[in-house]
């Protein structure tokens, strides 16, 4: 929870859209935001991994976040972005429908996840933030990336 208390009672979030929902990820984990680029499919990789991309000379895996969260797919548009996050020295890209803003949310405005969602995807969520009349789903990047759940090699 240390990262949440870093700014005292406030956390800075990068807010992005997946379908009609709004999500947030801690800004400290975000390395950069890129436009959609060429992604190379990697055979025999988990289905939520879209492939690998070239980030200035290094090769990064790219996660199809919608697939990971069981959200129906959609055509990529002008607004589609790749958010590069880095957790525990592992850098990964996440495809999102659009990046809207950077915002600050108060710790007290965050509800624990189980009040809203149940099921598998509940693991991926650290809480739900209330921002005026919007709801921001806060993601747990480490679980999304799959740290600790080593690739099952068939």
């Amino acid at each position: 929870m240390s990262e949440l208390t870093y700014f005292g009672n406030e956390i800075h979030l990068v807010v992005f859209k997946l379908g009609r929902e709004e999500y947030g990820v801690n800004i400290l984990q975000v390395q950069e935001i890129k436009r959609m680029t060429e992604i190379t499919r990697v055979p025999h990789s988990p289905d939520y991994i879209k492939g690998v991309m070239n980030l200035r000379g290094s090769v990064l895996p790219v996660i199809d976040l919608k697939r990971r969260l069981n959200i129906p797919p959609q055509e990529h548009t002008e607004d589609t972005r790749i958010i590069i996050i880095k957790v525990e020295e592992i850098a990964v890209g996440m495809i999102v429908d659009a990046v809207s803003e950077v915002t600050i949310i108060n710790q007290s405005d965050i509800e624990p996840p189980h009040t809203v969602v149940v099921g598998v995807t509940a693991d991926y969520i650290s809480g739900v933030g209330k921002l005026e009349n919007r709801l921001l789903i806060l993601l747990r990047s480490d679980v999304i990336i799959g740290i600790g759940q080593e690739l099952k090699v068939s």
Binding site: E38, T40, P43, H44, S45, N54, V92
Partner: protein, 687 residues
């Protein structure tokens, strides 16, 4: 002075010199009279002594000093390098190794060197009677020689003539012994200063060792000068001792015989014995000096060819990365040049291409180290081990100049030690046993390294008794690794491979059975972690061969880019035999496995669409198909591709932890257009 910054250098160099000592002692054992080898040993010991004294490791310095005394006698031919002496020298090297490693690990574990030192000095004093054979007790060391008389021995007839003339002119000839402080860093400079000071007083007619050697620091801490001067001894001493780092100086009037006679005869038992520094008759000395000169020439050459800089491997890694980036950008520029057709740009790019290619080659070479670095320590190990086991073994090393990436070199030492130990322990039989079997009583272990495509093959072969597959089978069943039924099904060659299974390597396997098994699974794991493979072949009573295949781990490789549907893949050129065109009907099926016949060989066909799970595979009814024939070891396969794009050098990039372990993909690379292409792991196609 903060010596810590030199610590790394000290350790590295000490280890190198210890390695040289080991090698040379082995050589000396084979050829005890070789002066060149002795000189080499002497130099190494001497360097270690100097370095350790400078760094303040007195135990090491003390031990090497005593070694030097013995070596000096060997070099002078006073002693001969008999087995017992080389044994003691080997022990010295071992102890030195321990001492150096203690320094490295920062341990302060006291090692007793006194007994060894005592032994050494006993030898040096000539008391080690067993070691000194009667014939070798030379005139000089058994017969005491007067120190004052030695001046005559040290000067040639002509020089004596010069001295006489000078004496007639009222000058005196002084023999000046100068001793520099232990740990003096610039010996040659000090020697030069002493010379200069003396030149002001008179004329230096001779120096021992010769001036050349003084300049090259080719001497211990003492040297002798003969000076013609009108000044008195006290004067000389005070001037010379005024020079810094001069520990002691003595000036004595050199006794010059009235006539040049045979000095050896007129020495008597009354005079002070000099055993340690057994002096030489003029003839001997001349030879010696000649040898010295020759040696110093060869040292010169060595120094020139061996000039090197030690670089941290991390720096090389980052350099390699940068070169990789450069190669990617160059390829990109090439494509831009092609699109825009600017002749000037294309020319510049061509230039750049040449430079980057060279740069790349150099960087790769810098990281490559000959396997001799690892192989060098084996002769000694085999020697010791064969003595311990009472076996006679001849170790033959071939291809030690084969180069491998530094990172691989650092890792293969232990597995090779395991394999060699096994060959000696379990492979090679005792001499009597061998003789009974009609073999040469001296066993042979062959350690070879060679390149094979993008791989390096290292083999450990012995002509011992081989591995009995039945015993291995039985043992594996006993250990519960496999069931009896499984064991019965195994071919002998497969059964032998059971030794690589974990759990097979327990202590009682070593003693009970002839089967090998000491840490074989460890060997296999290590080799595989390096991206290599290990295999064994054996024939009962003819011997066994362990074959290790290692990648060069080149970060930049030549590859063929191919297109399958819309995806581009790179196939390492090292794995490619050829590319051929076939017609669809050339593909036959054998039990529903597709194959083609190529020059009488049946080659299985691999369809990448299925191997790579290419989604909604584009169906094309091409009549003509491109097939890339690849090989890995003996295995061959034909890969059907849609288009051959061309050959290109690619930089292997890892895909990160998240995607590590995907079987058919060996890595990724970035193409000239910035897209990522995956590299096929040809080895994985076999499954």
């Amino acid at each position: 002075m903060d010596l810590n910054q030199y610590m790394g250098m000290f350790l590295e160099e000490s280890r190198e010199h210890l390695q040289t000592l080991n090698n040379c002692l082995l050589a000396l054992e084979n050829d005890p009279s070789s002066l060149a080898v002795l000189d080499e040993i002497f130099r190494s010991a001497h360097t270690i002594k100097g370095m350790s004294a400078t760094m303040g490791f007195t135990t090491i310095a003390e031990l090497t000093h005593e070694m030097e005394n013995v070596l000096d006698l060997l070099r002078k031919g006073t002693l001969s390098a008999k087995d017992d002496i080389t044994d003691i020298l080997f022990t010295c090297v071992d102890i030195l190794e321990q001492l150096v490693e203690n320094v490295a690990s920062g341990l302060d574990k006291p090692i007793d060197v006194q007994s060894l030192i005592a032994k050494l000095s006993a030898i040096a004093r000539g008391e080690f009677s067993a070691a000194v054979s009667a014939g070798d007790v030379s005139v000089e060391d058994s017969r005491p020689v007067a120190k004052s008389a030695t001046a005559a021995l040290k000067l040639s007839d002509m020089e004596i003539g010069v001295v006489r003339t000078a004496k007639a002119q009222g000058m005196e000839c002084y023999e000046i012994n100068v001793e520099l402080r232990q740990g003096c860093l610039l010996k040659s400079a000090r020697a030069y200063m002493v010379m200069n000071a003396l030149e002001e007083l008179g004329e230096v007619i001779k120096s021992i060792p010769p001036v050349d050697d003084l300049e090259q620091e080719n001497f211990d801490h003492c040297f002798q000068l003969f000076v013609l001067t009108t000044a008195d001894a006290e004067n000389i001493e005070s001037i010379v001792s005024g020079i810094s780092e001069v520990e002691r100086v003595t000036a004595t009037v050199a006794a010059i015989p009235e006539l040049s006679q045979q000095p050896v005869q007129n020495t008597t038992a009354l005079l002070e014995p000099i055993v340690n520094k057994g002096e030489k008759t003029p003839e001997h000395k001349k030879e010696k000096r000649l040898a010295n000169e020759l040696n110093s020439q060869s040292i010169d050459k060595k120094m020139k060819s061996g000039q090197s800089v030690r670089v941290d491997i991390d720096k090389l890694d980052s350099l390699l990365n940068l070169v990789g980036e450069l190669v990617i950008n160059k390829t990109r520029l090439e494509q831009i040049g092609l699109i825009h057709r600017l002749s000037e740009l294309v020319e510049t790019i061509e230039q750049m291409d040449r430079v980057t290619t060279d740069l790349q080659a150099v960087v790769m070479k810098v990281r490559m180290v000959p396997v001799s670095q690892v192989f060098n320590r084996f002769p000694r190990m085999v020697r010791d081990l064969s003595r311990e086991l009472n076996k006679e073994v001849n170790l033959i090393i071939q291809g030690e100049e084969t180069e491998l990436d530094r990172t691989v070199i650092d890792e293969i030492g232990d597995p090779l030690v395991h394999l060699l130990r096994n060959s000696l322990d379990h492979g090679i039989e005792h001499p009597a046993e061998r003789q009974a079997a009609g073999k040469n009583p001296v066993g042979e272990v062959r350690l070879t390294a060679r390149h094979e495509g993008n791989n390096v093959i290292i083999m450990v072969e012995d002509d011992g008794k081989g591995i009995n597959a039945d015993i291995i089978r039985q043992k594996a069943v006993e250990k519960g690794i496999i069931t009896q039924a499984e064991a019965d099904k195994l071919e002998p060659s497969e059964a032998v491979r059971l030794v690589f299974l974990p759990g097979f390597s327990t202590a009682d396997t070593v003693t009970d059975v002839s089967g090998r098994g000491v840490g074989m699974d460890a060997v296999k794991t290590k080799i595989e972690s390096l991206g290599g493979m290990v295999d064994v072949e054996t024939k009962i009573s003819e011997g066994s061969t362990f074959k290790i295949r290692l990648p060069l781990t080149l970060a930049i490789i030549q590859a063929l880019l191919v297109k399958v549907c819309d995806e581009i893949y790179a196939i390492p050129l090292g794995n490619i035999d050829s590319t051929i065109n076939i017609r669809a009907e050339d593909i036959k099926t054998v039990q529903s496995q597709e194959a083609i016949l190529l020059r009488g060989q049946i080659i299985p066909i691999v369809r990448l669409t299925s191997v790579l799970n290419i989604p909604n595979a584009c169906l094309h009814n091409q009549d003509e198909l491109f097939v890339v024939i690849v090989h890995i070891g003996e295995y061959r396969a034909g890969i059907i591709v849609d288009t051959l794009i061309g050959q290109q050098e690619i930089v292997i990039k890892s895909m990160g932890k998240l995607l590590a372990g995907i079987k058919v993909i060996a890595g990724a690379t970035i193409l000239g257009n910035g897209h990522v292409a995956l590299i096929l792991d040809v080895g994985a196609l076999k499954q």
